[in-house]
């Protein structure tokens, strides 16, 4: 028994060692690899952007609602509820505050940064949403507008049927509010990062060949740089305050009345079907004729960016090979410059390859199979109306109604309602 006890102590102390040795550092927001690499910036600027983002937005454990001069303002308390490690913190007076909702429920798919690259991502189709471009598919607003809070709330509550996005209807309203706020936060943060990268790449002086710059980006000390970030934060946040006025409201004149006769419905469905297969609406170009297979050829915006990145990388490979062959035939001065450029491009290629390896493999976004699929954005009449009206933002599914209020679209509202009737009839035929 004595030896057993000794062995026990040894193992115990080993465990404590293991436990203390590998306690993880708090997770950080990842830079947007694709955007930063594409911009071909110098390392110094990259790092300065990241530290500016920490100053304005905080970290995954301690997020900050950036101060924006507009009326739109994120709620710090809700952000805190969603951020940090899962669990509770003691407020000191015996009350416990909720923390870490996002990490507990969402990060496994959407990633800590909201880049749609959580651990489970590669195994899912469609991939989880990358929030950073600030584009959302299923919403009630005009295609280019941000979703309303209710739109995001609805996605979280009901999930996206037909995809891996689950329903979180078991969470209470306060928790869902916190998650909505955090999604907006991640989206705004991501978009500000993009804007900053684009701005620095365009406006700042730097020498990509030497990887140096004489114009550091230093919002801590430089007033102009600070104002730049404030300006971009305001610019990116402002549209989030407009959601509610951007909702697509159907013209009451065309909304089908609830007590239509069966004959009227049948007529509308027939007209809708006619439209669906017509060359004017072009629905069948992608969705195929009723009953036939859909044609998946286009990518959504998220994967399209990756496709372009990979294409450019391939082009760079080809260009390097070509120039390597040509370089012998150049004169002295040209050769030196050429060699310098080649060395730089090889470094660039190296970086691009490292990034490419980490991106999710792009996959075409299949159009919905309308005769046996489930609607991802809700199957109420108004959902389908808005879907056909504004399409699905960020995907090949085009808008058919007016792009803005008072601008005519390719289909009239009356026609869209007929299509909606047709879509519903297809759906009902399936469930019978």
């Amino acid at each position: 028994m004595r030896t057993d006890a000794n062995a026990g102590y040894v193992v115990l102390s080993m465990l404590v060692l293991i436990a203390s040795g590998c306690t993880q550092a708090p997770p950080e927001f990842e830079p947007s690899l694709l955007v930063v690499t594409e911009a071909d910036m110098v390392d110094e600027h990259r790092e300065q952007i990241q530290s500016a983002l920490v100053d304005w937005f905080g970290t995954p454990d301690e997020p900050k609602a950036p101060k924006s001069p507009t009326t739109f303002q994120l709620d710090q308390e809700l952000l805190a509820m969603a951020a940090g490690p899962a669990g509770y913190v003691d407020r000191g007076d015996g009350e416990y505050l909720q923390r870490g909702l996002y990490r507990q429920h969402c990060a496994s798919c959407h990633g800590i940064t909201g880049n749609g690259m959580g651990p489970a991502a590669a195994m899912l189709a469609p991939y989880p949403r990358d929030f950073r471009p600030g584009v959302f598919k299923f919403k009630s607003t005009y295609r280019a507008a941000k979703p309303t809070d209710d739109d995001v709330r609805r996605v979280i509550k009901h999930g996206v049927p037909g995809t891996a996005m689950p329903s979180f209807s078991l969470l209470d309203d306060k928790q869902i509010d916190a998650l909505v706020e955090y999604i907006k936060y991640l989206a705004i943060r991501g978009q500000v990062e993009r804007e900053l990268v684009a701005h620095l790449a365009d406006e700042f002086d730097f020498d990509p060949l030497a990887n140096t710059t004489d114009q550091p980006f230093d919002p801590d000390n430089d007033k102009e740089d600070r104002e730049l970030v404030d300006y971009l934060v305001a610019k990116v946040s402002r549209p989030w305050g407009y959601g509610n006025v951007q909702v697509v409201q159907p013209d009451p004149e065309f909304v089908p009345s609830e007590n239509r006769s069966a004959a009227e419905v049948v007529k509308s469905v027939a007209a809708g079907r006619e439209l669906f297969v017509s060359t004017r609406a072009k629905c069948t170009d992608c969705h195929g004729l009723p009953g036939s297979a859909v044609i998946a050829k286009d990518y959504d915006d998220w994967d399209e960016a990756v496709v372009n990145f990979l294409r450019k990388t391939d082009a760079l490979v080809a260009s390097i090979e070509r120039r390597e062959q040509q370089i012998a035939g150049l004169n002295e001065a040209q050769r030196e410059r050429g060699q310098q450029q080649l060395a730089h491009d090889k470094r660039r290629l190296q970086k691009r390859k490292q990034v490419a390896w980490r991106l999710l493999e792009p996959r075409p976004d299949p159009p919905r199979n309308l005769s046996n699929g489930v609607f991802h954005g809700g199957d109420e009449l108004i959902d389908l109306f808005r879907r056909v009206h504004q399409g699905v933002a960020g995907t090949p599914m085009p808008a058919h109604g007016s792009p803005r209020s008072n601008v005519p679209g390719s289909l009239s509202e009356g026609e869209i309602w007929q299509l909606v009737d047709y879509l519903r009839s297809q759906r009902q035929a399936r469930s019978l």
Partner: protein, 352 residues
Amino acid sequence: MAKKKHRKPKRSRDAASLTPGQWWERAAAVVLCCVTFPLLWVGGLVTTTKSGMAVPDWPGTYGYNLLLYPWTTWLAGPWDLFIEHGHRLLATLAGLLTIGLLVLVLRFDDRRWMRVVAAAALVGVVLQGVLGGLRVLLDERLLAMVHGSVGPLFFALTAAIVVWTSATWRLARPAAVAICLQRAVPLGLVTTLLVFVQLVLGATIRQMPVTASPQTFAVAVKAHLFMAVIVAAACWFLAMRLLARGVPKPVRVFGVAAAVMVFLQISLGVFTWLSKYGVPRFAVAYIGTGDAATLADGWWQNHIVTAHQATGSALLAVILVGTLLAWRFAPTMTATDSATARNLPPTGVATA
């Protein structure tokens, strides 16, 4: 009356052939095993519902925190209390039972190795408890993984102790016809190892930190799927050998169990994926997608996932015990034969 004499004795083999001390020893082993399985299940449930993560302190004000845990919309509060405290109460019970078992073994079992086994069980259960506590306090993934992998090992050990303390084991005579059992033993050992590796892979997937890359997770899932095929094949061949002609009944039982459990486990695995991530795109053409999204942390999701984990442990135990019994009943084991003979309880001979 005469007719009655020819009937098989009604009392169980165990009761008839074990001394009272050995009977108690065995009873303790059975109870321990029966407590350990729900312990694993509830432990899995704690992981599934992430309740363990949601409560930072241990053991202390656990109950107090629970009241604040806003799961009221999900199964009423008491159920939550049941999961959280149940795991620890069961763990404590398992610990006490292991102590009891050790005492009984030291007192009544004359097999030296059995005493070592019982002592090892106690060390194991204590370590496992400490691991569980540390896991809560330090919120360390690696600890969670180790805690989650040692659990099934301990359960398999308790199942083995049940067999080792049984009359079947003590009285087993090699079955001369069952030559195939000899070949079943190495296969069984390999299968046990494979099942355990598969459990660890499963725990890796379950405890994957949210900062892991999608590529890492994909590799783990693919490895888990690949191993599922290997394990299923191994279990199938093992079951065939355990069910071959001439194999004594106690071994056959485990042959059937291995085949059934592995099938059950694979089905649970499929449903685990469906309940968490929905229908994979390649399968949509065949089974369609549901009309609604999956419900995160819903009752079905939580229990299917937990059942998948618990059944993994049960499979490990079944394979291990089946292998042990195969070894016991395999012919030409003269050395152990004589060892058993010395251990035979006096009453055992009569009924055997």
